[in-house]
Amino acid sequence: MGDSLYNKIGGEAAVNAAVDIFYRKVLSDARISGFFEGVDMDRQASKQKAFLTLAFGGPNHYTGEDMRRGHAHLVAKGLNDSHFDAVMENLGATLTELNVPAELIAQAAAIAESTRNDVLGK
């Protein structure tokens, strides 16, 4: 566990540092901000935190089915690959801003990328 991705990135403290930065980027990104209109910000921040924990290889029990169910209403509103790409970009930019080494960013991106088909309901 000592040399897991989650620990190398900095564990829970890293998630806490990343969540505000990431959520600010997502909310101010005109390509995807529409999906967050009228959403409770506190609840959304908790979800962003869960997503970052997942991407950092941290403890989670999300299944592909959870991802499908959780995003189905957004897919119905037109959520597609271009939006997923935008989120991936914001994730990378957040980690770069936090000075996470490039190879760890790549690993986190690969984990996040693995949820693409479930998130988009493919």
């Binding site: 505000d20 910000m41 908790s46 935190k49 924990t53 941290g58 403890p59 989670n60 959870d66």
Partner: protein, 318 residues
Amino acid sequence: MKRIIFEGQSYDCKETESILDCLTTNGVPVPSSCKAGVCQTCLMRALQGSVPPESQRGLKSTLVERNYFMACSCYPVEDMEVALSGTGAGKMPATVVALESLNSEIICVKLHPSGPFEYRSGQYVNFFRDASTARSYSLASVPKLDDCIELHVRKVPQGQVSTWIHESLSPGDTVEISEASGDCFYVPGNPDQGLLLIGTGSGLAPLYGIIRDALLQGHSGPIRLYHGSLIVAGLYLMEELRQLARECLNFTYTPCVSEGAAPEGFSPGIVLDVALKDTPRLSGWRVYLCGNPAMVNAAKKKTFFAGASMRDIHADPF
């Protein structure tokens, strides 16, 4: 084996089981999602028994203070009584002590609860007109400073409860209120942190309580209050707040009016804009937002973009 009481029923929780496992295995529906102590979907509240700290990791400080925890990562160390979040507010009678006018449409209602009443300034109570008609009002009083609990009630046109409070209640009457709930209040610790408080109309009530509570608890960082209304007549407690600002050097009070020219001593403009112009960078600040929902929602976003952490933004729209 620990005993878990939920809605009057007792359940046995095995050493290896979380409260979420224990309740769901027994057919009690508790909403959950990540099952890893992150997403906070399975938030519950402990009524009895100590809460293991690992089940509160990452929760807002105001939730920790009120014994909230995540059921999925709570492995009880002793017997506990638990409730779903947002439930369990009992009712109690209270006597009306005084009804005092604050401005042309807002009165201060002073109540004396019939029994021990625990609350934190800034939380709210439900005020019952009858069994099925109630409205929420925030607590402007401070437990250690005020004998009564105090609510600021604005007379809402056609408001079923507020009109009744304004027109039909008299000192000496007995009314029913709920226990205090809500997580918009001051949490001690971090006394040097800046506090920014923005309110409109009777949204001043919780802020007035929070500010006096923070000062009483020795908060030493800057405390900046912005209270807005369309016109001067919509504001209230101006003399009390100016006096407080004279007594406490770390507290500033800026009354704002958004319509027409502002008289001397008032700032012209929308309260949120005035506040953010004075303090454009909110990184490290704690923020309290109360009042008009449109203002509160806009302010949540703007103060977050100005650098305040989501965990430090406390909002109460009404």
